[in-house]
């Protein structure tokens, strides 16, 4: 079988499995996967009221920021956390079928992408209600998304491998993502960071750059050259490390799960 057909098979198989994962969580419920949208909507509404009061920012300014940030951060964070289980959860399949390992990692990325799709509906809704203008630069979301997906894809492969071998890693990553959530400007605006500290707190945090690529296009801003270059560099370096690791240990995954 030619490798093009194999890649196509793997892609379509992982797409089917990802949809199955989304449906599975909401079978027998009346509104189905729109629970994703509904619970995200309620979360954003509550948080924006509370933090709007605490930070004393006007709602029409804060709500669009918070809505885009939480939705897009949720996508990044849950892909990373679920990525740790990519191979562990696929044990039965791995031990019986000679499938490409990318079926299992793409499955996680696509599943989270579908979830993002459900939440994404809220962004134009919030913009509309808050009368927040969205300009031409919104189109930059698409290349930004490509770069973020390139990054998440390697993270899932390598985290999935390490987690299959060392079973403490999923818990560690989950805890780490909670910490990163607080040190990354998701709930609070980056402009609140004093100029002197911003290099350390924001510049060195790759997740900050990834998040900027996704959300700035909706917030009447344009991602900086620094955002683009660091995110791209992170993707290239990450894939290099992942490919080397996978070539060395990929054949051991079936023994680890």
């Amino acid at each position: 079988m030619s490798s093009v057909i194999q890649v196509q098979r793997a892609a379509s198989l992982s797409r089917m499995l990802a949809w199955e994962d989304v449906k599975q969580a909401y079978r027998r419920s009346a509104i189905g996967p729109f629970w994703i949208t509904a619970s995200m909507g309620v979360q954003i509404a509550t948080m924006s009221v509370v933090f709007g009061i605490i930070f004393k920012t006007p709602l029409f300014d804060y709500l669009p920021f918070l809505a885009t940030s939480i939705i897009l951060w949720g996508f990044i964070s849950s892909t990373v956390v679920e990525g740790c289980m990519a191979f562990i959860n696929a044990e039965a399949m791995i031990k019986q079928l000679d499938l490409s390992f990318f079926v299992h990692t793409f499955r996680v990325v696509i599943k989270n992408f579908i979830t993002l799709g459900h939440n994404f509906i809220l962004i134009p809704l919030v913009m509309l209600v808050m009368l927040h203008p969205v300009g031409w630069q919104a189109i930059l979301f698409i290349p930004g998304l490509v770069v973020v997906l390139a990054n998440l894809s390697w993270m899932v492969v390598i985290l999935g491998m390490i987690s299959a071998r060392f079973r403490d890693v999923p818990q560690t990553i989950q805890a780490a993502m909670t910490i990163i959530y607080f040190i990354t400007p998701v709930m609070w605006q980056p402009s609140l960071v004093p100029a002197g500290a911003s290099h350390w707190l924001l510049g060195l945090n790759p997740f900050y750059h990834l998040l900027q690529l996704l959300r700035l296009p909706f917030l009447s801003g344009v991602p900086t050259l620094e955002n683009w270059l660091l995110s791209l560099g992170f993707a290239i370096a990450g894939w290099l490390v992942t490919i080397v690791t996978f070539n060395k240990f990929g054949k051991r995954i079936a023994f680890w799960v």
Binding site: R9, E20, K23, M93, D98, F166, R167, D168, F255
Partner: protein, 246 residues
């Protein structure tokens, strides 16, 4: 044309105990300066298969004999290209169809219809191929209207009939099985028997692990007797089964 060549194949199974599997023990090893390095890698290796040499050519029907833990399942997994041997070379030419767990991929919450597609896709069929065979699968499984119901509402027999009906529509080159599949009640069993026999006959190579003398002597042309991960005997089905079953 399918072909299998094993050249001194060995498979070691790493057993990670609670300590070996956690990252901290790795870190501690370094921190304690190797004083606890009686077992430096920190895990036990089970030698599951050792120095296997054999060749299976197109048309052969091979039975795997051996007691529990002799390495039959591990060998089937190497043949499925799931386990890559650490030692030697396993050359496997041909498309693999594994009927070791015919329920793999079946989701109890999904309907029979959805599961036909799920299971079929995992067997390597494309969507149009499944659509084309869909009616035949439903007819064979005798599920009727139940095909639109979630599989969790099925009886065990219905569940197995569905899994069997989908799993046997493939056209295998190399067919791997762990014991003969027998499903359903009296009347279904005959039908299933005929279908499975036809499937086995159409395969270019069959490798089946079994504890049944009857099956080995009836279905296989050749048998391999495994003991402690090594080949104890390799010969015609009748000769090996006579020696094994005594």
């Amino acid at each position: 044309m399918s072909h299998i060549i094993f050249d001194s194949v060995g498979v070691d199974f790493p057993i990670f105990n609670a300590n070996g599997r956690s990252l901290t023990s790795r870190v501690l090893e370094v921190a304690t300066g190797g004083r606890l390095d009686k077992d430096p890698s920190g895990h036990v290796l089970v030698r599951s298969l050792q120095d296997l040499n054999f060749e299976i050519s197109n048309g052969e029907r091979v039975g795997l004999l051996g007691h529990n833990g002799a390495g039959k399942s591990t060998l089937l997994r190497v043949l499925s290209r799931v386990y890559h041997p650490q030692a030697g070379k396993a050359k496997i030419e041909g498309r693999i169809t594994s009927l070791i767990d015919i329920s793999l991929g079946i989701n109890p919450e999904a309907t029979g219809r959805e599961n036909i597609f799920l299971r079929g896709r995992l067997l390597g069929l494309s969507k149009p191929e499944i659509e084309q065979k869909f009616d035949e699968i439903v007819a064979f499984s005798e599920l009727g209207e139940f095909i639109e119901m979630p599989v969790r509402t099925y009886s065990t027999g219905m569940h197995l009939r569905l899994a069997f009906a989908v799993s046997t529509v493939v056209k295998p080159e190399i067919l791997l099985m762990d014991e003969w599949l027998s499903v359903g009640d009296e009347s279904f069993m005959h039908k299933a028997e005929a279908r499975l026999t036809a499937l086995v006959d159409s395969a270019q190579i069959l490798v089946i692990a079994s504890h049944s003398r009857d099956l080995i002597e009836k279905t296989c042309t050749r048998a391999i007797w495994l003991e402690h991960g090594q080949i104890k005997m390799d010969g015609t089905a009748s000769a090996v089964s006579a020696a094994y079953f005594g």
